[in-house]
Amino acid sequence: MINLQNVSKIYYPNVHGLTDVTLDIQPGEFVSIVGQSGAGKTTLAKLLIAEERPTRGKIEIGGWDITRIAQRDIPFLRRQIGVVFQDFKLLPRKTVLENVAFALEVAGVPGRRIREIVPQVLKIVGLDEKMERFPRQLSGGEQQRVVIARALVHRPKILLADEPTGNLDTINAREIIDLLQKINAFGTTVVLVTHNREVVNALRRRVITLSDGCIVADHAEGKYLLPV
């Protein structure tokens, strides 16, 4: 599903974001990518959604080589990957319903279908009664659930969650991780980028550990090994 071969990212003038990273993530896996700040987690996430280009190496998503993806093809890639961000990245002037529907609108889904699917997805994340609210009228946990609904609504094969619990309290963080596990149970590949030790250890799923831009550990039922 996700395949990186000898991928390096060097920022100008000579800052190594990632160095010679090779990894393979199979369909339906739940993978946590962990590491301290500056380890290269976010660089890896940005490479997967073509927000950054690798300096060297090859990246394939679902068999599609996106290493040198053309600017005009990026929207098509992003419609296949659901992304959850730490800072939510909701459109502030759109309601909950419109934020979620936007992901379908850009993909050209007909209005009738959008009106059908969006309330269903909002019900799954428990926001069906708040769909006419604006993001500023929601709590942090609720906003993150909207983001997950938006990421899920077009049924992506991959869900990339970059520090989704970073701005949340323990209870909300737990709810978000439960939601990600449910999504994974339906067959979606989940890539969780985090430095939250408790979350990773509780999951008991594959853990890839990054340090200074390199993979230092990759365990099938791993734990957060690095010091906090």
């Binding site: 959604i49 990026i74 929207p75 992003r78 992304v83 936007f102 850009v106 993909a107 050209g108």
Partner: protein, 306 residues
Amino acid sequence: MSFFIRCWRILAAAWKHFTRNLWLALTTVFVLVLALLSVNVLLGVNVLLTNAVRQLEDKIDVSVYFQANTPPAVLEQARFFMDSLPQVKSAQLLTADKALEQFKQLHANEPKILGALSELDQNPLGATLIIKANRTSDYPFLLEALKNPQFDFAIESKNFEDHADTINRVRDIGRSVQMFGTGLIAVFALFSILIVFNTIRVAIYTQREEIGIMRLVGASNAYVRLPFVLEGIFLALFALLVSAAVVYVAAYYVDPRLKGLLDGSDAGLVAFFVTNWWRLALIEGGVLAGLVALSSWAAVGKYLKK
């Protein structure tokens, strides 16, 4: 995605941007209105000055004084000939009696002149032909035309020489006003373009994060850009309506109050804006909408690359 669905969604998104971003929209409209007003105020001033010069020009004429015993047939021939020239706006013949009557009216408060006149047995004045040209530049030609041998012999004097300086000065003022007005309008139009461009850039800058989010969610460049461009066009049209309302109300208010400055003549502001409303709306609206659309396109493009 069908073309119509895409258009409808872009239009709906633009309208929602506009209504949900009301304060930013109103601030932008305010600046656009100021830009339009500055150009319209100068247009109005230009109209005013042009009308003032035209009224000065209207007051200029050439009076041709005929000898007292000139036969009416010669006088009529002179009037007919001059009136038939395309450069002549009007040629009015005053008979000797009327000329005397006017002379008396003109000098009603000067008993010495009136006393001297009453001493005379007969009317010392001849008929007078008053000629007005279409343009001040036509007067030299008309003076040449008056040298027609069919009535030239009967002309005692012409007063154009007395007015020549005035006519030339008025012509110079007219030319200067036109040049200065056009230049000033061009400069203000340029300032307005820069103001509009920067206003739109600032408005888009405040929404740069949204542009990035739309891209991350998978929106194509056109799908992100077009609502902003359309929103800009809404703002331009709204600004055009507001500035038109302000200009027309101001013109109706100011026009009668300027009569005093123009010897009771109409300042022509209302007439200008009413007669040319569609042309002004088309040019100003078109230029503004085009400029705003272009500025929005360029400003959004800056954040699409990030």
